[in-house]
């Protein structure tokens, strides 16, 4: 009897110990502050190429294709920045990073810019000492359902079983969406995204919820992608965009103006097709953007024909969107990612 009670006591002690040690790993604050930040832009210019942290596993955004090349929406922005700075879209070294290692990789100077479907949040912006440059994609939690259901809104989904992956804010947003409308539903939570998708495809649930970009990527891997639609409902804010380490403002300026330049190009009708005609344009905005007049590029510290190189390499914002996320790609309706002039949120600061 005595031996057993000792076993129990020692088990409890061991349990408490393990629990205490399960405290999260030390944050990166113990690492020395990145000394490279201030001189990052000069380092990049000296190196002759940019090091771009990206995703290797998200088709449509950042993906290592069977030919061994990185491709996708996010990857095109890496190319655009390289084209603007060096006049060569191939002056990029891609570094695939996972979700937990992406911010430390940027802080420690392992990568120059991170373009990997990273949501802009206050906590990350402050706690990790990084700076977002711009928003390239307004994502949000969405809902995917078979097209045959004909669903448009949450109200159509009364009584539905919804599959989701556990351990994220997804399930809370889901609960809020249905509760606030007084609707009945059944959640079914899986541990892994792939299992969630399988269960949905097998018909265990009527719908699946996740970020819209993720849903689109999962759909593209399905047997019959055309049978499934992503409903036009949004349950959360997930603005994605490129970010640089805190402190190197000049470099951050280059990244953000390349993005905004591509947006302005779409707004002004400058595309890879119309580029040569547009170089003759009388529109002062277009002339400034393409470096025909003014010193926009030079003031950023890069060649004055920066946007000409960008448009030639990847096209304007709309072209990049259509290439990867349009009907031929992941087929995500532009929705909030439409230009502000068309009722969307994509808006460039004034290029002047």
């Amino acid at each position: 009897m005595k031996a057993r009670s000792w076993t129990i006591v020692s088990l409890l002690v061991l349990g408490a110990l393990l629990a205490a040690c399960a405290a999260p790993a030390p944050p990166a604050e113990e690492a020395p502050p990145p000394p490279v930040a201030a001189a990052r832009f000069q380092t990049i210019l000296d190196r002759g190429k940019i090091i771009c942290g990206c995703n290797a596993e998200l088709p449509g955004f950042g993906y290592l294709n069977p030919a061994g090349e990185f491709e996708g929406f996010d990857v095109d922005f890496c190319k655009a920045i390289a084209a603007a700075v060096f006049g060569d879209a191939n002056a990029v070294e891609y570094r695939p990073v996972t979700a937990p290692e992406r911010l430390p990789a940027l802080q420690t100077g392992e990568i120059d810019v991170l373009i990997r479907n990273t949501t802009w949040t206050l906590t990350r912006d402050t706690a990790n000492e990084v700076d977002w440059a711009a928003v390239t994609f307004y994502d949000g939690q969405g809902m995917m359902a078979p097209e045959a259901t004909g669903w448009k809104t949450f109200e159509d989904m009364e009584g539905a079983t919804v599959c989701s992956t556990t351990g994220t804010t997804t399930e809370m947003n889901l609960a809020d969406a249905f509760r606030s409308r007084g609707l009945d539903y059944t959640p079914l939570l899986f541990e892994k995204t792939q299992d969630t998708a399988t269960a949905y495809e097998e018909g265990r649930c009527d719908a699946q919820t996740s970020d819209k970009s993720q849903l689109a990527a999962l759909r593209s891997a399905m047997e019959h992608p055309e049978d499934h639609v992503i409903l036009d409902v949004t349950m959360s804010k997930e603005p994605l965009g490129p970010l640089t380490a805190h402190g190197d403002d000049k470099w951050n300026d280059v990244v953000r103006w390349v993005v905004w330049g591509m947006v302005q190009a779409e707004e002004s009708g400058v595309s890879s097709v119309s580029l040569d005609d547009m170089l003759e344009s009388d529109d002062p905005t277009v002339r400034r953007l393409l470096g025909v007049e003014g010193e926009m590029g030079t003031s950023l510290g890069i060649p004055n024909d920066w946007m000409v190189q960008v448009i030639r390499a990847v096209g304007n914002y709309g072209e990049v969107y259509v290439r990867w996320l349009g009907p031929a790609g992941l087929n995500i309706p532009r929705g909030p990612n439409e230009l502000w002039t068309n009722g969307g949120l994509i808006y460039a600061m004034a290029v002047r």
Partner: protein, 388 residues
Amino acid sequence: MSAIAVARQRTLRVLRDERFLRALGQAVFAIAVVLFVAWCLSNYRDRGLTFTFRFLREEASFDLAEGMAFSPVDPYWKAFIVGLLNTIKVAFFGIIMATILGTVTGVARLSRNWLISNIAGVYIEIIRNTPVLVQLFFLYFAVILKFPSLEDRIVLPGPIFISIRGINLTWPRPTESFAYWLPFLIGAVIVAVGIYAWRVLLERRTRRPVSRLPWTFIALAVPLLGWFLVPGNPLYPDRPAVEGLKVVGGTSLSPEFAAILFGLVIYTAAFIAEVVRAGIMAVPRGQTEAARAQGFTEMQILQLVILPQALRIIIPPLISQYLNLTKNSSLAIAIAFLDLYAVSSTMLNQSGRVVEVFLMIMAAYLSMSLTISVLMNYVNRRLAPVER
């Protein structure tokens, strides 16, 4: 001999003294443990972490669709209870079913019928030698998720619906007159106990074996009589029906619960079968032969001679199989069943209270395991042979 040499000799003697070495070893270990705890605590403090269970009273704001009714406005502690009850449900039914299946398989393995013995052998070897997680995935994704959709459901008389959304059965539910019928149910239990006691007394008086259990079924007449005496029907059949996207009415067995329950039963039963086989084989062959010589049937030999003796050998390893089944139920998270671990990991993610939630998980599993151990050790002691 110089003074230095003497001192050195003395030191050596102390260093080689077993008692000293033991004490030293324990001291070093104790210091290491204390340092380790201090290190963990200081890490904990350095991270600015606080230790509090106050979050348990906060609103959980997520939904749980399995087991006890739960809504997003309920507090965290209630979510924990939902998960705990779901785990207990799996463990309870799992242990009962695995014991039955395991015993049958173990006996079948020893059968003199070639086919029966080999079927049992193949089952045991395949199941014991593949990982349980793989089996669960197979059962859930490759078997259960291949069932027809709710629209094309299989309808058995009852009605019973079988589809990818689970099994829905007709279930008796009490009506208003159930209250009048309840005394008859209690009466039936009392009558049954009375009959049993009477049969036991009769056996003692006549010193001849009499059947007892079958007689207690006479007690069933009481609630049957009551059924006609009370106004209206005390129970009505609640039939399942499809309404929109879901089934309403009746009672249901979710595909996830079915997968974790059957998966664990099939897995654990293979181990229990081996335990049972070993137990039976440990009973000396002479016992069987003696019983056979006295004209016992094979069934009687098993029931009256072998199993009572084998049980003593079987129970201790059986306890660890029960504990395994209970702990393996934490794999349920992989197939979306909301067991204790699945609910807790959601709690942990939403509240950020890693240490507190893990302590709760460990305490819950530990108390379940200890409860099973205590109960089974009690059974074991009751079955210990009366030494003569």
